[in-house]
Symmetry: C2
DNA sequence: CCACACAGGTTACATTTGAAACCAATGTTA
DNA sequence: TAACATTGGTTTCAAATGTAACCTGTGTGG
């Protein structure tokens, strides 16, 4: 079959010999990273060009479009982005008038965030664009595969999440 | 069927009403990005701490471990990283003596790259580490799902690749 | 009421990253 | 063999990102 030519093909060395081997093209973390970058860049390029939005800014809008009135801290939870990224995205969006904020009267540190009218306008135009990209990707899969993918991503995600909490059990060699 | 509560659940507005809606948590590009970042950061952290390698540097080593003698340009093809990233990774690795380079006598612009002895040492210790992470992730999937994932990633990747070439057919609204 | 620890956000600084200009060396055309 | 386009690779500069320090404003213990 289409075995990509590898070192051992010419040396005859077995894959489990003393020498470690890694096929990057089949290495999951690598594949995820490449795929994710390609996809994100393509989409970010599209609305970046049209609306002058950065990817983090767009994410903030995406969340606020569905959950108006969230605070920055809550955005952090929802988006898995960090404090600073959110803060910067928000202040950019305030400057471009896509967002408005209201102080929470009971806790004066807290700022509630909303899409402005023009923000909603942009939101309503980007969402379909974003969906077109996603649909186009998904169109390359069968209905079955789309379901499988959902399940798989969920599992991988929750596994990876656990690393964040207690690292990978190390063999300490 | 486990519809996560969304705005329309409370408003009774239909998903296909005038107002666009996007569920970020289910939006493929977003999920890929979050998963990929978590995974990459976890792993990069691990060997970054132990061997002082950046992620791009590690990728370069990963490739050269299997395909010694490649040039920077060829690394670009293999890794989907760009010229500059490769150039920097390589010069860092030369400085830390994990890499050696030989001028190609027939084309004197071209540099052939090899892992040094100590580079090979590092490589041989990182590969198992990397594999442990991957295995740990994969362990959360059934054997079937692993196969499915492989197929799906391949499809998504080739779709995304086409965007790079002739963009997404735009409706120009 | 006065410390003190803590949560929400922002700012400052250092690093990383990417785009474009750049410097060879090579190939090509005439 | 003189021009010119091309390719391998590096450098430069600006923008994006992450970390840690920092300023509020809130809660809590004494």
């Amino acid at each position: 079959m289409s075995e990509t030519k590898g070192p051992e093909a010419t040396t005859g060395e077995s894959p489990e010999s003393r020498t470690a081997e890694l096929r990057l093209e089949k290495f999951l973390p690598y594949r995820l990273s490449v795929l994710s970058n390609r996809v994100s860049n393509a989409i970010a390029g599209a609305y970046g060009a049209k609306f002058g939005l950065t990817l983090p800014a767009w994410r903030v809008m995406a969340i606020l479009g569905r959950y108006p009135g969230l605070s920055a801290a809550e955005l952090v939870e929802q988006t898995a982005m960090d404090k600073v990224a959110i803060s910067r995205a928000v202040s950019a969006l305030l400057k471009s008038e896509y967002l408005e904020r209201k102080e929470d009267q009971v806790d004066r540190r807290r700022q509630m965030l909303y899409l402005s009218e023009s923000g909603k306008g942009v939101y309503n135009r980007i969402v379909p664009l974003a969906k077109r990209y996603e649909n186009d990707l998904m169109a390359s899969l069968t209905e079955e595969e789309r379901v499988q993918l959902d399940v798989i991503l969920e599992k991988l995600m929750s596994r990876a999440l656990e690393w964040g909490m207690h690292g990978l059990a190390s063999h300490e060699d």
